[in-house]
Amino acid sequence: MILTAALGLPMLGALALAVSSRWTETAARRCAIAVSVLPVLLLIWAWRQFDPQGALFQFVEEVPWVPSLGMGYRLGVDGIALAVATMSALVFSASIAYPVDTKHQPRQYYAWMLFLQSVSLGVFLALDLLLFYVFFDLSLVGMFFLIGRWGHGQAQLAAFKFFLYTFCGSLLLLLAIIGLYLSVEPHTFDMRVLIEQQPLAGAGMTAALVFLALMLGFAIKTPMVPVHTWLPQAHVDAPGPVSAILAGVLLKMGTYGIIRIPFAMMAETFSRHALVIALFAVASILYGAFVALGQRNLKRRIAYTSINHMGYTVLGIAVAGALIQDTGYARELALVGATVEMVAHGLITGALFLICGSFWQRTEEYDLDSYGGLLRQAPWLTAFAVLASFASLGLPGLAGFVAEFHIFAGTFGVYPWLAVIGVLGILVTAALFLQMLQKVFFGAMPERWAQFEDLRPIEWGVLAVLSAGFVIIGVAPAFLLTLVEASATLLVGGR
């Protein structure tokens, strides 16, 4: 019941906001914040109850939905899902609490945010392929309306592009899911059965096609080079909190999906193509870093670093699936790293995009060159921006380092030469963040920013929570690592 409550409560909150028109802005906002915190608390409670020695999936719930199709409302989590879901719930609460211009439709804005929180958690908690797909698609609908209605610039165009592009990926996913479904007897969408039976092992052409469709679908969502082109525009034109969710939560659906479906259900096919995936991941790492370095637009720059960071995650997953003799430990390290990277990237990039939102609220300007010397004007903003940037570039003691260390340690054990190339990405990331900080916060301040306001208490409060998250993971990651390792060992070694 705990998982159903975690995704059901925000949905109820969204309904309550949607049906009545009597909400005032303050009331709607308070209600949304209160409701959005509940899943965080519930998931933390589940975390404490989770037994690392126990079965792979815990807190399993099952209610038949369309039994004649083998589809059910099945929920359950392993350590990986639980970690990512808790992070997502937290990023949602933070984004909902972050002040934003709701364009005279506060009720609708908060209702859509809660709806999106509910379906996003659904993606991570589902144990049924079709249910996973249901939530996966609904998240696109929620995102479409949020970007189109509350975005700026060419918001509608960005929303269209986002929806069409990612819907293309999700339909490929649907075909692949049906392919997996048809490969087991009796036909079922139950993930546990599919993981246990590995139905497409040795199925030749069918397996290859299903795998290709799955990977394409998830690569679009992640996004990996070369199917990343929807991302920059969606990010730039979305309001800050929505960008934070897009980067912090929605991108994770791609990498989480790779772990949950092709990696776990088609281990043999995955291992055969692991090197190709790793190469694409390294391409994403380098491409994302170099293109980000070339951006003059603050938000676009951070958006491209997401491609870089998701590249690390995919590299970790590819290494974990490589199935090379005597590399079990390295592969487990890589999978743990990939999961920690997801959590870390969600918190860090979430914070960075919220900071971008604060810039937009004050100046409606993203051009890096127009800024300078804001350190004196806005010390709090500077402090949080510096902390998040350092975390993002992988400074030891912060969450990004823990993740990247695990990933590269694992990669050295399996594909050492790829690790060497990939590390270059970290170097470039460091350069681009330092250059960004220097341009915005140091040097001479242009006259026009004389009235620039520092963070308000609610803003720095939210940023402090997210920062606390990635600092704690950086300093004392044990609580997260135990949880993730429990499932990673089962997924990597138990085959």
């Binding site: 038949p64 939905w65 369309v66 039994p67 004649s68 199709l69 079709l130 797909y133 249901v134 698609d137 609904l138 609908v141 479409f144 309306f145 189109g148 209605r149 918001a155 509608q156 929303a159 269209f160 929806f163 069409l164 819907f167 293309c168 339909l171 490929l172 649907l174 075909l175 049906i178 392919g179 479904y181 048809l182 096609l209």
Partner: protein, 469 residues
């Protein structure tokens, strides 16, 4: 004579006659009671159909009339869809001098469609197609004082006359080949050697004749005009209901053919051409009704996918009927909203609707998302089953084409959604006064969601249907 086997059809006929008489003797202002009468008749017909449910599939009336799961299921879908059309009509037709007769025509057209779905004899099929066509032409041109309605009716009639003639020629050639009009005899005669060229010609003619009712390529050209020009409730009828009968009739017909007639390839290419053409043509439309017309063409293409794998996969027929039902609900919901909004048709007039008419806007958006196949709406399960049987039947390329088309279709559906949600308007939104259209719209909207959440019920209902033959 086993009169009991056709009681639903008899009740429809008698009901239609009663409505004609009623409308002749009652004042125009009271004609909305004819709608109540029509709903009662449809309810009676549906009740009688349910009573036939559960028996073994069989043929009756000297094997010309099929009484199997497919016929009964599609009959129920047709009747429910017909009831929705009747229920959205009274306020629209209120000012028309011939308000009452409209319902009689609807009932006759329903009867024709049911005959198509149940025909197990080529003559019976021709009869069904002609009855539904003859009753539909005046429906399309019901507002005869309005030029676009006349144009739509005329186009519909001309294309219909041509394709119905082709259908008849096909039936005659088939009779010449096999010496019979009954499906069991035809199947038997075709199984032994016969003239392949003549058979190919006959098949082509019959399939072409049915593409008219399906609004599939190449006889689809009437659909956008009818959707745009005819009265909106009639457009709702014509874009949805004839399709159901025609798709089942086509499935029944092709299942007779011997495998060496490449009917799978023919149907597959019609399917691809139809969905692609419908979607591409819909992309640039600025008229919502016309856009819905083109989208309805493309949906016929999807439905044909299930017919392609007929006989390879025993789930093909359930998928076909499930998809048609889900499509019918979604399209009727969309047209009910348009009716409620007094037929508002220019895309620009939909700007800012979400703020001023939130319920109508929500139902329209949900129905469009269901047409795309966004879960958990009923349209998603329709498409899921289609994809499933197509993949299982080994036509993965066809499923891929359908996927690409679905992405394209999302674009034009969003072109309606975006201005409604993101635009703003100054002027007030005018809607039809009264509760008929409003409540039909609400019922259809609820069905879209309930059908998705309760997909199990629909799937059990269609799950084991098969042909009697």
């Amino acid at each position: 004579m086993p009169i009991g086997d056709v009681l639903p059809e008899i009740s429809l006929t008698l009901g239609a006659v009663a409505i004609v008489l009623f409308a002749s003797f009652v004042r125009q202002r009271q004609h909305h009671w004819a709608a109540v009468l029509a709903l009662l008749v449809i309810g009676l017909g549906a009740g009688l159909t349910v009573a036939q449910w559960g028996g073994a599939p069989r043929l009756t009336f000297a094997d010309v009339w099929a009484l199997d799961g497919v016929a009964l299921a599609s009959k129920l879908v047709v009747l429910v869809a017909g009831a929705l059309v009747v229920a959205m009509s009274p306020e629209w037709m209120r000012t028309d001098r011939r308000h009452g007769e409209y319902y009689a025509l609807v009932l006759f057209a329903l009867l024709g469609v049911i005959m198509m779905a149940s025909a197990s004899d080529t003559m019976e099929l021709v009869l069904g197609v002609l009855l539904s066509s003859v009753a539909s032409y005046p429906l399309a041109a019901y507002h005869r004082g309005w030029a676009p309605a006349l144009e739509a009716g005329m186009k519909y009639f001309l294309i219909g006359a041509l394709t119905n003639a082709l259908l008849t020629i096909g039936v005659v050639v088939l009779f010449g080949l096999t010496g019979s009009t009954g499906y069991p005899d035809i199947a038997q005669a075709l199984a032994t050697d016969s003239d392949r060229l003549a058979l190919t010609i006959a098949t082509a003619c019959v399939v072409l004749g049915l593409t008219f009712k399906l609004a599939a390529f190449p006889a689809h050209a009437w659909m956008p005009d009818v959707a745009q020009g005819s009265p909106v409730p009639a457009a709702a009828f014509l874009t949805v209901i004839p399709k159901i009968g025609a798709a089942v009739a086509l499935a029944r017909f092709v299942s007779l053919l011997p495998p060496d007639v490449a009917w799978r390839a023919i149907v597959a290419s019609i399917s691809v051409a139809t969905m692609t053409l419908g979607n591409v043509a819909a992309l640039r439309q600025t008229d919502v009704r016309r856009l819905l017309g083109w989208s309805s063409v493309s949906q016929s293409g999807y439905a044909l996918m299930a017919i392609v794998v007929l006989g390879i996969n025993d789930k093909a027929l359930p998928a076909l009927v499930f998809f048609l039902a889900s499509y019918a609900i979604a399209n009727l919901a969309a047209f009910a909203v348009v009716t409620h909004l007094r037929g508002r048709t220019a895309l620009d007039d939909y700007r800012g609707l979400a703020r001023h008419a939130p319920i109508a806007a929500t139902i329209l958006i949900v129905s469009l998302l269901s047409l795309v196949g966004i879960p958990p709406l009923v349209g998603f399960f329709g498409k899921l089953m289609l994809f499933r049987v197509t993949l299982e039947g080994g036509y993965a390329w066809l499923a891929l084409v359908a996927v690409i088309n679905t992405v394209v279709s999302l674009f034009y559906y969003l072109r309606i959604v975006a201005p409604m949600m993101f635009g703003s308007r100054q002027s007030a939104v005018h809607v039809l006064s009264g509760q008929w259209a409003r409540s039909t719209m609400a019922v259809a909207g609820v069905l879209l969601i309930a059908g998705g959440l309760g997909a199990e019920a629909l799937s059990l209902f269609t799950g084991s249907i098969r042909f009697a033959l």
